[in-house]
Amino acid sequence: MTAALSIRDMLVMYEDFAALNRVSLDVNFGESFGIVGESGSGKSTLLRATTGLASFQSGSLTVNGRSYSGRKRDKEFYRTVQMVFQDPYGSLHPRQTVDRLLLEPLTIHGFDNVDARIARALDEVGLGSGFRFRYSHQLSGGQRQRIAIARALIVEPKILLLDEPTSALDASIQAEILNLLEQARRDRNLTFVMVSHDLGVISHMCERLTVMKSGEAVETVPVEALEKRQLSAEYTRQLMVASEGFRRD
């Protein structure tokens, strides 16, 4: 099986700080792969360097059999890979209508039937046509995140990079969005790379996961390891304890 995404020794430096310190990762086609790790450990950097939002100084990146370096990504790349960001506020231009936001990627990639596609995309993420001409600053966080997902899915990508897609959402919307993502993955045979702090979410959505710490990938395990509590990295164990809630001692 060829890897959908293959990262070798990826290095991202900000001056003399290594945000990503020679990370290697292979994600298979059709797989759902989780990334966990403490704040600042480089999870977003990994996704950003993959999509060309950040530059990597050394190492290699292969996506769907094609190699990429630096920040240059061709159109083909964005047909294959789409990303949903951590922060639903920053990722959508606030002064654009939902319609414009969804139209833009369709135009870039030369899709036809744009009207029908936009209507279907809104429907797929559970927002009615009433939202089509709203501005994104008029939407709540959860509504924005649905639009961000619709915008990513609308160009029919093969690989979806999801950076904390539900961390800003309440439980009921999270459940709906996770179901939506799973359904989309099944229907479209998508490959997921998903960052989350929530081990419950990772355990629900993924088959394997990597634990990051200080810019490095410290451990890659199948999700069953979470249930069996077979984790060697100290951080992952702390994460297990912390996911039970707040304790006042």
């Binding site: 309440d170 439980a171 996770l178």
Partner: protein, 277 residues
């Protein structure tokens, strides 16, 4: 004793092209020196409730209330200038969207120093020390490096903690924390909560903790308001969250993914019309 905050029949509405959106429709509660949680689904009006208390409602919207009192001060009758002074000093809010609330063209350290200097007479050197201490208190590993970074140069969680530091640096009496930890990994989340917890128990700060994370709210807060469609549908003591009887609250509890439970698809809420009555 006068409560720290009295909210009675608070309403916030937005005029839009397609009609009025009633974001908050008659919310009432009082707050003492305690931890009050507000949970509810996206769009239920949690943020707009917090913003209305702070006086941070977008200008096109209308805010009304029978009572909106901070101590015995009438927030709605207060001149804007006085209200601005109150904000930041005695009343603070950690906004849900930290990237937007931090000034993108000023380093993190500078902004927190400026906040401090707006509200206190303090030398630049002392301000710097206080800010570095505050950054350290919110568990930023390398405060000196982060002090000089711009908002776009820090991770999501670090931005959120910088925001928390900025809001806490003046020592407010009332803090509204809107999803303050949702971008943090759970281990840091608990550390930040411990800081907030200490401010409540040691300094007697009042805390309104807005979160969609029921597990976190039930283990952290004293009381919880459950909001739906702009109203409070249920008020519970946190210990009794599991015994909630409103079907909406039960639904919220039931749809959390858990390690080792395999429910595909996850149960979702079947919303009932009468919940919005």
């Amino acid at each position: 004793m006068t409560p720290l905050l009295t909210v009675e029949d608070l309403r916030v509405s937005f005029p839009t092209q397609t009609g009025t959106v009633d974001a908050v429709r008659g919310v009432s509660f009082t707050l003492g020196r305690e931890r009050l949680g507000i949970v509810g689904e996206s769009g239920s009006g949690k943020s707009q409730t917090g913003r209305a208390i702070m006086g941070l409602t977008p200008s096109q919207a209308e805010v009304r209330a029978k009572k909106l009192l901070f101590g015995d001060m009438d927030l709605l009758a207060m001149p804007p200038k006085e209200r601005r002074l109150l904000r930041g000093k005695r009343l603070a809010m950690i906004l849900q969207d930290p990237k937007y609330s931090l000034n993108p063209v000023m380093t993190i350290g500078r902004q927190i120093v400026e906040t401090l200097k707006t509200h206190e007479r303090i030398s630049s050197k002392d301000a710097r020390t206080r800010v570095l201490q505050m950054l350290e208190a919110v568990q930023i590993n390398d405060p000196k490096r982060v002090f000089d970074l711009y908002p776009h140069e820090v991770s999501g969680g670090m931005g959120q903690r910088a925001m928390i530091a900025m809001m806490l640096v003046c020592g407010p009496d009332l803090l509204i924390a809107d999803e303050p930890t949702s971008a943090l990994d759970v281990t840091v989340q608990l550390e930040v909560l411990a800081i907030l917890d200490k401010l409540v128990s040691e300094r007697g700060m009042g805390l309104i903790f807005v979160s969609h994370d029921l597990r976190l709210v039930s283990t952290f807060c004293d009381r919880v308001l459950v909001m739906y469609a702009g109203r409070v549908v249920e008020e519970l003591s946190s210990a009794a969250l599991e015994q909630a009887h409103h079907p909406y609250t039960q639904g919220l509890l039931n749809c959390l993914p858990r390690i080792g439970s395999h429910r595909h698809p996850l149960p979702v809420l079947e919303r009932q019309k009468e919940w919005a009555e």
